[in-house]
Amino acid sequence: MRTYALRRLLQTVPILFIISILLFLMVRAAPGGPLTAARRNPNISKEQLEAIEEQLGLNDPLPVQYGRWLGGMLNGDLGESIKFRRPVSEMISERVPNTLILVGASFLVTLLFAIPIGILSARKPYSPFDYTMTTVTFVGQAIPVYWLGLGLIVIFYVTIKNPFTGDPLFPVGGMNSRGREGDLLDTLWHLILPVTALSLGWIAWYSRFLRSSMLDVLHEDYIRTARAKGLADRWVYYKHALRNAILPLVTLIALDLPSLFAGALFVETIFSWPGMGRLFWDAAKGRDYPVLLGVVMLTAILIIVCNIIADLAYGWLNPQVKYE
């Protein structure tokens, strides 16, 4: 298993290599390049400009420049933000925990709802509960996350007010109220609407998946055996069926990670949540390419790592899987 993990890691090297070349060419092709501001400045002469270019190594052949850029990146140096004149790695690492809080909380809520809904639907397929949930999940999957987020703001911030104070029912901006930074309860309060917006579609999607996965498993022989030997229904469902039905879910979740982060980007933008998505959106508006590339590179690595973890977890959960 260790060799398998190692080989998977090595396989990702060419992929990351391709991505990094594409990204590098993009930085280079970006209009104006890193010297846009200097070029516009009338106090800087042509000779000085050339000297700066020489100093920054912009006259070297492209492969040499790429090598230097890659070397810097491997050392955690993602360059400097054009707009804020700060190291990109520093700006990103400030935001990562906030995104993880949002995504982690949404993920927890998703599993908390999706697993029971999936099991109950599969226990009594085509029952009124199952039909209701089928309709609800179809609706949940078709609602765009940005519309849902906006709707939640309209309902719970603009329209419905707290009957006692007249304040909005839920906060919609940032992670904390002014003066309550670092207050965990206050952060949880701020999390409610963003997490609702982010998890609804996921609950729909995973409960649907778990339902069909459970129904597949319930047709297996060992379930009939378990029933035949008089095992209580509860044990059949939760021990025998669920354990096997949940396996494909692990792989699915890993493959879905990019879209989970995509959803987070929308939610962070709508609710001014100071995470990576919001940073990316702000940087994209200002064409701050070093920041954009840093975030893309980092999320790509994150996705690859999560895929490998999912593969390993699948093998750990399912002893039938053998790694060659």
Binding site: I19, A30, W147, L150, G151, V154, F261, V295
Partner: protein, 300 residues
């Protein structure tokens, strides 16, 4: 003719007629087709409304729904109903064209990969894997921002840019699907038979294997189209998709967001349109899945 004979005789049906009949057994899919057809019809006939999508009227700002303005007016006094119809043209065509491109590319890659196997398969699948690790929305935004700044004339057309980048980042799913189907089908007897009769690879792929993949490809096409419409709207909503003044459902929603305190109802209609469209497409996909699946038995 005896009663037994008439019961036993089976009316001959073409495959297409059979599929169509099975499709409309799925009642919601039938409804969804009608709803989608209506949306398309309204978008096509958008010129018939008495307003222009970009026509501003400062005396008519923030009107609520009325007989003159069915969906009200926005912050510039533009008729929202008209804008939604014109926006539907853009959103629906972006969805359709980018899906067509992405499915075409996906089928090509998947067919080559699955049929020939070997190093062709390895190379194509590595590329597919690389594309699958892209954090899609981030790359879409990056490309949306980047391409529009280039001096090329064709890149000034934001609708074109959006179609291309959505297709370029979504062909991997149909490619994997088609590859899987080809891996199974190429081992079948009818393929060996065709090969023994001297059928060329191109003939086997196009005449024998591909027609057997139509069902799953159509179903995956509906999934792609639903997600393309959501992606386009999302990109335009964030400001990196189709650029104003061209209205799309996403950009209408984005301007509505800025007015959320003055006119919260403005955010309702564009999102509703996206929702209804995606919902209909999903149901159509569901109906197609049933229609092409020989194991589904419909209870009348």
């Amino acid at each position: 003719m005896s009663e037994i004979e008439s019961t036993l005789s089976i009316r001959e049906q073409s495959m297409a007629a059979l599929i169509t009949r099975r499709f409309f057994k799925h009642k919601l899919a039938g409804v969804a087709i009608a709803v989608l057809a209506l949306l398309v019809l309204f978008s096509v006939l958008a010129d018939l409304t008495p307003y222009e999508p970009t026509e501003q009227n400062p005396t008519q700002m923030f009107q609520k729904s009325s007989l003159q303005h069915w969906f009200g007016t926005d912050e510039l006094g533009r008729d929202v109903f008209t804008r939604i119809l014109y926006g539907g043209r853009v959103s629906l065509s972006v969805g359709l064209i980018s899906t067509f491109l992405s499915i075409s590319l996906g089928v090509l890659v998947g067919a080559l990969s699955g049929y020939f196997g070997g190093w062709i398969d390895s190379a194509l699948m590595r590329i597919t894997d690389a594309f699958l690790t892209f954090p899609t929305i981030f790359v879409l935004i990056l490309l949306g921002a980047f391409l529009r700044e280039q001096q090329l004339y064709i890149l000034q057309n934001s609708v074109f840019v959006v179609i291309i980048i959505i297709a370029a980042l979504s062909w991997m799913w149909p490619a994997r699907l088609v590859r899987g189907l080809f891996l199974v089908l190429r081992e079948k007897e009818f393929v060996s038979a065709s090969r023994a009769l001297g059928g060329s690879s191109a003939r086997i792929i196009l005449r024998h294997i591909l027609p057997n993949c139509i069902g799953p490809i159509l179903v995956s096409g509906t999934l792609q189209m639903a997600s393309a419409i959501i992606t386009e709207s999302g990109l335009s909503y964030l400001g990196f998709g189709v650029q104003p003044p061209t209205p799309t459902w996403g950009s209408i929603l984005s301007t509505a967001q800025n007015q959320v305190f003055r006119a919260p109802w403005l955010a309702f209609y564009p999102g509703l349109m996206i929702f209804i469209t995606v919902m209909s497409i999903n149901y159509i996909g569901d109906g197609l899945r049933d229609a092409f699946d020989p194991y589904v038995i419909h209870t009348e």
